[in-house]
């Protein structure tokens, strides 16, 4: 067992602990993860804890595209690669990140991407990055849509600390988008595939039209903390 995999398993255990402490975390659709071969998992991104919770519940290791600035923190340049994070620069089209991603898929690994490119401020799904959809079309592997519900309420982007909240992770059935598409075909299919993925992610993350994102009235009987102004 490599040092990386030992650390990864330790992080999975830690992630399960965090989930139990702050959650609970409920998972549906784990059998939709292929037993072997490369795959791409696309998930909505609501919270800093999404990658931790997701890696903790998946039956196979997941290499996750992670913003490159996180690797600059002390120790992270060593720790994050051990946790299968792939740095991606967000101020330019990062060809090296794409090369690494495609190599991992060729070697039969799983890659996790948050196609919104950043955490949602309000809990709602944001437009998917067209570049991510192009990569998905170029890869030619099963695409697993994954919806995360509740992690915005658990720890929204603008808050300094988490609060307990139920999180539901729904792993959808694999989408077969066909063999790797050439440049011209990719450009033609980016729009429709983006629409398909958006619809699946909305459905799986429990975001029907009109629902208040992050609304927790159905299971929050606690009194409101704010004094009258």
């Amino acid at each position: 067992m490599t040092q990386g995999s030992v650390l990864y398993r330790a992080a999975q255990l830690l992630g399960r602990g965090v989930g139990a402490l702050l959650g609970p975390v409920e998972v549906e659709g784990t059998p939709n993860i292929p037993r072997e071969g490369g795959f791409i998992l696309l998930a909505n991104h609501q919270s800093l804890l999404d990658p931790v919770l997701l890696q903790a519940v998946l039956p196979r290791p997941l290499h996750t595209l992670t913003k490159s600035t996180q690797f600059a923190a002390p120790g992270m340049g060593w720790l994050l690669p051990a946790l299968h994070a792939i740095p991606v620069r967000r101020y330019r089209v990062d060809a090296q990140a794409v090369r690494t991603l495609l190599r991992i898929l060729r070697e039969g690994g799983g890659v996790g991407i948050y196609p919104e490119g950043e955490r949602s401020w309000d809990g709602r799904l944001q437009p998917l990055r067209r570049g991510t959809v192009r990569v998905v079309l170029a890869a030619g592997v099963p695409v697993i849509p994954c919806g995360i519900e509740g992690s915005w309420a658990l720890w929204p982007r603008w808050s300094a600390r988490p609060r307990r909240h139920r999180v539901r992770i729904r792993i959808g059935a694999p989408l077969d988008l066909g063999p790797p598409a050439g440049r011209r075909e990719r450009e033609e299919r980016v729009g429709p595939v983006s629409g398909l993925l958006t619809a699946r992610l909305r459905e799986l993350s429990g975001e029907p039209p009109g629902r208040e994102a992050g609304d927790d009235r159905d299971h929050d009987p606690s009194p409101d903390p704010f004094p009258p102004p």
Partner: protein, 208 residues
């Protein structure tokens, strides 16, 4: 970071807000308080002055209202000439990140943060930092249409222009306010110069 980074205006009256502690903001004009529910909850609540009980607040609706104002983005962003204290860091180089002897990718290596000032005008963004330590200070006027990428990263704003990348930290202003402001100016500049409707700001500004 705080709730003011998300809601930099009062979702009720669009007045200025101040942090009220504990993930809450208070409007300095109408007194409305917005904050997170307690305990297992996490949804936003809005407490209007004089109201008997707080009301749930749809965060998506609040965001749209705060970012775009009552009659679209024009109402909130019509006035240019805002200035803010910033701490500016410049990209020095990119460092390879390796695993098992192979290059996974690269990360940015920024220089030290130095105090400076950002001034937004209708057509340009000015960034200035004083000269210090024998190093020439940054003094650039960036036409909005020349910005290649824009993104909020944690509590900073990253702006790519030409072959440069700068990271701005706003000690007093919400980073999201400046992100939305810059997005609005970039959209307007691209339309003014006939380059189309901007649909993405990262990894590069792209129009339809």
């Amino acid at each position: 970071m705080g709730l003011r980074d998300f809601l930099h205006r009062c979702p009720d009256c669009l007045g200025p807000v101040a942090e009220a502690g504990g993930d809450a903001i208070r409007c300095t004009r109408c007194g409305t308080v917005v904050g997170r529910g307690k305990g297992r909850g996490g949804g936003l609540r809005l407490f209007r002055s004089g109201a008997a009980a707080p009301q749930p607040l749809d965060p998506a609706h609040a965001r749209i209202r705060v970012d775009e104002g009552d009659s679209g983005s024009a109402s909130l962003w019509a006035v240019s000439g805002r200035s803010a204290r910033v701490r500016i860091a410049r990209l020095e180089c990119e460092v390879p990140v390796r695993a098992n002897g192979r290059i996974l990718g690269f990360r940015e290596q920024f220089g030290p943060e130095r105090p400076g000032r950002a001034l937004e005008l209708e057509t340009v963004l000015e960034l200035r930092e004083p000269e210090a330590d024998g190093r020439s200070g940054l003094d650039v006027r960036i036409p909005w249409e020349d910005i290649g990428a824009l993104q909020a990263s944690s509590s900073t704003l990253q702006i790519a222009f030409g072959s440069s990348l700068v990271r701005l930290r706003f000690p007093e202003d919400p980073v999201r306010f400046w992100e939305e402001l810059a997005r609005h100016r970039i959209r307007a500049a691209w339309q003014r110069t006939g380059r189309g409707t901007v649909v993405e700001f990262q990894p590069r500004v792209r129009a339809r």
